[in-house]
Symmetry: C2
Subunit: 282 residues, 2 copies
């Protein structure tokens, strides 16, 4: 197949590598000249930074993968789907971390398009095509939001993800977004809060760092792209705010119990081990 | 030297392995028959579970390392140091994660003893002597709380830690405990809160787990010993409660900003990356 990838950062470029390995023809669009050069070194020479050129290149493609933040997805969907021939010919899917907003946008603005929402559960704290790996999706979950009337497109997108080793799982967009707030989105923001709070005890005169594995692990994802997380946060506001509010209430309650000497820390850890085991087992 | 290790869990048994490699004679005390058997298989056959027997074995030892929770340290210090000959002959040190409480106890109850507070910054989410490693302390920081009048004992303990590859760093006990609350203790409790909150979205019917690297890393230390963390929390109440209160306030504020669509997530990540870089560099 001829597959166009609009937005070739970590996720888009990893998909490009994986699909090229399967024999597909890849072309794409990126914003910066630096990314274009990186991709050229990786052997992707049909990558443009010109949107009119991209629209021309799309004319002989079968699929369009959007490797963009959600707001950029809206703009590119509008641009591409304004062309009736492209709207008819292309199966397109996004790879954003939130699903309710984009699925609703597609439904309301582009009801007839062959759009499918997907979310590959893969990532790194590094960004850009230089961090891409062909094996990034192997064995990883890819959530797909089913859409009545788009069964054929959904089947094509599912087959494509499975061909690169992903485990595809259908999920309702609203359930997806709430779940992600609780197991990923809220956690990323908390990693930042933890890191920022640690500034209060930084002492440049200490000959070694006082941090160990817990700090390293619990702040790792604070190294992710702030640009991307601004977009994810804006797109999943209510769920993330609800999670942060619960975290706030529970940490305030725990602080009070600790001050009073009546915190049951044994139970806190026992409960945590139990629920973590359930999530890590499946 | 003849070194007695009272409490041979992960930390105590790792120290035993490291010191035996350096040619020291190791004996020790543990509570359970299971630990005694594990240690016997590791070649430590002078390990008792009988406290009177332990006191007898201590008579020809030079040093006593306490691999116990802080409250058990108090009890064993009282027991051992009640014997004037032992109090004079032994250099003793603890390895607890909090330092203010035990240093104050030693000062008030056993002012004349050769006690030194230490905190090896090494650990795992696994417990017990079966998880021990001779190399656990190699290249790791060990904090030592200097004590006026105990310079000779401090020097001996510092030399011992350095001999197993640790980087020893003198630190004031109060500064130590506040710093640890901000870079370790509060984080461990937060890992539990995060894990426990995730229970709200657990769905046993989902064919794969919805969690990825952020969840794995940010809940890892929730697998630690609840017993140990109960003791650490009780021993560093004010600092940990202060940290949790700040986390509560900041997460509530962020939730409000997100709901209002005015959260500056870009800045949150940029700040976090900067401070994390400072801690991880040194």
């Amino acid at each position: 197949m001829k597959i166009f990838i609009w937005g070739m950062g970590l996720i888009g470029a990893s998909l490009a590598l994986a699909l090229r390995d399967k024999g597909h023809q890849i072309s794409g669009a990126v914003r910066s000249a630096k990314s274009r050069e990186t991709l050229a070194r990786m052997g992707f020479d049909r990558v443009t930074s010109d949107e009119s050129e991209a629209l021309k290149m799309l004319r002989d493609c079968d699929m369009l993968a959007l490797g963009l933040n959600v707001n950029d997805c809206f703009r590119i969907m509008d641009l591409v789907l304004a062309d009736e021939a492209l709207a008819k010919q292309l199966v397109l899917f996004d790879m954003c971390s939130t699903k309710a907003e984009i699925c609703q946008y597609a439904e309301q603005q582009h009801a007839g398009a062959n759009f499918v929402g997907t979310h590959p559960m893969a990532g790194k704290e590094k960004q850009g095509p230089e961090a891409a790996e062909a094996a990034l999706f192997a064995g990883q979950t890819v959530f797909i939001t089913p859409r009545p009337g788009a069964e054929d497109a959904t089947e094509k997108v599912r087959t494509l993800w499975q061909s690169v080793g992903a485990l595809t799982v259908p999920i309702d967009a609203a359930v997806h977004d709430r779940t992600m707030a609780y197991v990923s989105h809220g956690l990323h923001l908390t990693a930042c809060l933890i890191s920022n709070l640690s500034a209060e005890v930084f002492d440049a005169t200490l000959p070694v760092s006082p941090v160990a594995g817990s700090y390293r692990d619990m702040t790792r994802v604070a190294m992710s792209s702030g640009e991307m997380w601004q977009s994810i946060t804006d797109s999943n506001r209510e769920n993330i705010a609800a999670w942060l509010t619960q975290l706030s209430e529970r940490s305030a309650k725990l602080a009070e119990e600790i001050r009073d000497g009546r915190a049951n820390v044994r139970k806190l850890f026992a409960d945590a081990e139990l629920i973590r085991g359930k999530f890590m087992r499946t």
